[in-house]
Chain length 166, copies 8
């Protein structure tokens, strides 16, 4: 069974990217995590991407902030699907990273989630892996059910208590 390959440029990205690993753990989806930088360790990043399939990776999640070249550079060295997570950095609330990741040139695709959207990146990766994994598909369906149930519970609580005492 395939796994998710998570890559980020710096250990300062860990707190946000844990949103992805926690979601994958919850969905019992195997993954590997690495720190490698598009700009500080470009050869290492190229090797990571080129070797990903051989290591059993089927989907890549790449988190990056600011200039955010990492997802695109990874997508340049592999044909595996790459999901980019734009991270907030020191300015512009992540808009710089969002544009860098989304606006890839025609021919080299990266699929982008929202700013700091590591959890959704994991869910997108799981939806992809679930194409070949009935059990994962069921876990995804369960998760959706739990999400819906949580909304319903909150609504019931609101009907009980009203806005003021919620």
């Amino acid at each position: 069974m395939g796994k998710v390959g998570i890559i980020m440029g710096s250990d300062s990205d860990i707190p946000v990217m844990q949103g992805a690993t926690e979601m994958l753990e919850r969905l019992e989806t195997p993954f590997e995590v690495s720190i490698s930088s598009a700009h500080r360790t470009p050869e290492g990043t190229a090797e990571w991407a080129e070797g990903a399939r051989e290591r059993g990776v089927e989907v890549i999640i790449a988190g990056a902030g600011a200039s955010a070249a990492l997802p695109g550079v990874v997508a340049a060295y592999t044909d595996l699907p790459v999901i980019g997570v734009p991270l907030k950095a020191w300015a512009f609330d992540g808009m710089d990273a969002l544009l860098s990741i989304a606006q890839m040139p025609p021919g080299v695709p990266v699929a982008c989630v929202g700013v700091n959207g590591a959890k959704n990146a994991a869910l997108q990766a799981a939806r992809i892996l679930a194409l070949n994994d009935e059990d994962l598909r069921e876990r995804l369906a369960e998760y959706r059910g739990e999400q819906a149930a949580s909304v319903h519970e909150k609504n019931e609580r609101l009907q009980d208590k009203g806005m003021g005492d919620y």
Copy 2:
């Protein structure tokens, strides 16, 4: 073998979304295309999404402009991976659609490509389908090779002719 399900809200989206169908044809990847609107035909859209897996769809490409609710609404009714294509509409160069599609709430993933990025959406879909399709993987590799070759050719032409006579 799975196919790509393409959905868009209006026939005015066809000229851009042809970037996706032409790419898929080139990669010999089967697809279906539909027009259905998140706001004008919401039940039809919900049915389309709920029935997608049964119709053999494995990856969804949803193109939408402006308020651009379509990709998210589709993702709400299925667990298949959804790729959103933000389309330029009458203002803001597609920024409205880009934010609507990318900034999905945690729990319901949509993966977004660049503005008018239908071609890259098709490539992302093909990368996903290629996880189970060695032949498609080869066609993707060929396509990458052709892209690289085209860059090299252009460079050679530039070396020959120089900037002025290119």
Copy 3:
């Protein structure tokens, strides 16, 4: 007499949306409040919108952040007037929600107030209901009078005390 139907996607929206319920209470305008998500409970949201008129709702206030599909999805399932409240979420100060809510495609209207503008949404709803309710119209006029009086009082205080000691 008609009431206002308030809907929001998450209980985290309550603190802002209380601006609407408090204003409606002040104007003695009846309302109902629900939590229902465009993406996590899409069928429930569709039912909520389709049944609103029957429940006596005449105006809908829908609060949503980020991708903010809720107001548009509600407007797709009813012909009641829908007022959207774009909420600040984790990035862009609510610009993502503002664009998602305001930039609806021609044919399906949503009227948008400012970011976190729940109080103004309530006032807009009351202006609509007051078309058939002389008493509410008087309460609205009183409220306007109080607002003006408060500005005058502040100005008098300023004339008394000056800028430094205000």
Copy 4:
């Protein structure tokens, strides 16, 4: 039966604002139209707004570009519901008008549609008037039906012809 009062600051706004009058004509909803400027004829605008209810106006549509003070100024002189239409002017694709209209201070509501969204403003006005007008409600329902039918027709044509020959 109440009517819609349409106001705009300049005759250069007519081409866009016709989107509202054509929609209202289609829905057989009576309306009046005036040119009056928040900045060039402020007293006239104040009088227009103060006398609107007496003239039988129940909903106001105010179109304005750039600094776009008109909708807010009108809302300051009446308790009728005001719908603002941000118009594209000479820069920023209407973002200036969108922010001016949407970001009203708490206490004085204006409900904003999308940039150049005159048609949706008319539909929002009709949804409001339909609260007291069963016939209008039916015409709105018909219009919704026609919209949906048009989407279905386009989809059928697409299934027939395919993307290339559409």
Copy 5:
């Protein structure tokens, strides 16, 4: 000798607008200050503007946030020069107010300073009043001299101490 008329929409604007009154006090330039709202007390604001010249006002400073109609409304009721101060409100760092104030329609001028730029508004007003007031001109020149001297002192301190110990 003429004075500066300062107007703001709310007492919450006082902390920023004190930047103007303190600067005017320093320059020994007379001023009056009022709270009056374009939207909550529109008639009062119109009267304030219409009577300004008679009260001896020669330059107007109008501070406003968000929708920020105040400077333009004031300029609509007087031919005195109006300087607008866009104030940060609850979103967008003052960009909404900056666009509302700067993007006035041709024919009704407002001159805008930077976000929260009350001090510069006062200096601009003083530059205008100094056209007829040799003494004020000298005080302005002194102020400029002090500014330059302060920069030189800081530079000398930096040369002495270096970056680390500054």
Copy 6:
């Protein structure tokens, strides 16, 4: 009687800046016009600004696009009031110039009009000069009257002809 000093960085700014000279001619306000660049002829620009008062200039209008340093540089060399006109250049619809001109540091004021707002800059200059010139004040009042009359005429034409035949 004082005059307006107009300065711009390039002859490509003439078409827009003519909005200022035409308005001043209409108001019979004397002016001088110069081309001088903050970056290409910095000494000349400094001299122009330092000598302005001596040449009889009382108000300065400085038009600039993109980086748009000219108004601020001029304001650094004189205590005359400076009105900046942000011009559209090759990108961003003039937002770059608007921010450069408006966001001056505390202590050195520039008052900014809207993008390409040369006409309003002239009116602002005339409002300033009119503080000492009763005749100009009357011409300004006449101009305001004509503006209002033009709006009224357009409105009457609209009442006559309706939207379709306007």
Copy 7:
């Protein structure tokens, strides 16, 4: 004597990047030009950058649009100074490229010029090479002189002809 190495991702960038080559030709500064893509020919780009110094390149100019990873990727493989030129692509007027290029992570520098600013990139490169090339320094000084002379000529023409007949 060192030369400038110009790199761009596509032959569609040639029309803008000619602004750089023409400027370098005028300054008699040697250069080489190549097409190589960060995403389509990543190894070739890495080799180009790694071999630049050996080929005699002393300054690099990298032009890129949209996601615009090229300048940063080049800077990752060399210690030569890299100047990035953000190019307008299919959306956002080059803001995407500007942010991608400017917002490099600490540790890997790229210096960015304005959107489509190829000419200024060439001048910046020449200023760098002129540190070791007295003759080039003189040509740069001449160029500055010509620029200033051109502004003066335009000003004289304006003084002669006035605004209308310029």
Copy 8:
């Protein structure tokens, strides 16, 4: 051996600009630092720039926020390469400064780093000086090696500890 000339408009810029001086110290690159303002001490700034080469400066780093004219003004008075550092000021996260610095008119180059990017400005300056300084080139190479080593260490630690215990 040449040195770096650092200039900033205010002592409030020191905390960010220390990122440059610390980096230069680490690279054993000589520098001078000055405070001088484009708007408050324009003559002093012009003199600083004109005398820079004579003082042995070979590269200039100019930090400025908001209107951020300093780098451009300096570039107008010298032919040395100027690197601009846009600083965050009181609004817009530094976007105002970024645009002011990057969008220089053709003919007068400034190379811009990211918002608050003083460290990268120093590295860019060092890359320039290293063209004539083999030792500096080696120190730059060492620094790159250390950066890469630090990424590798972090990655090893992550492989050891996992995301949760990192």
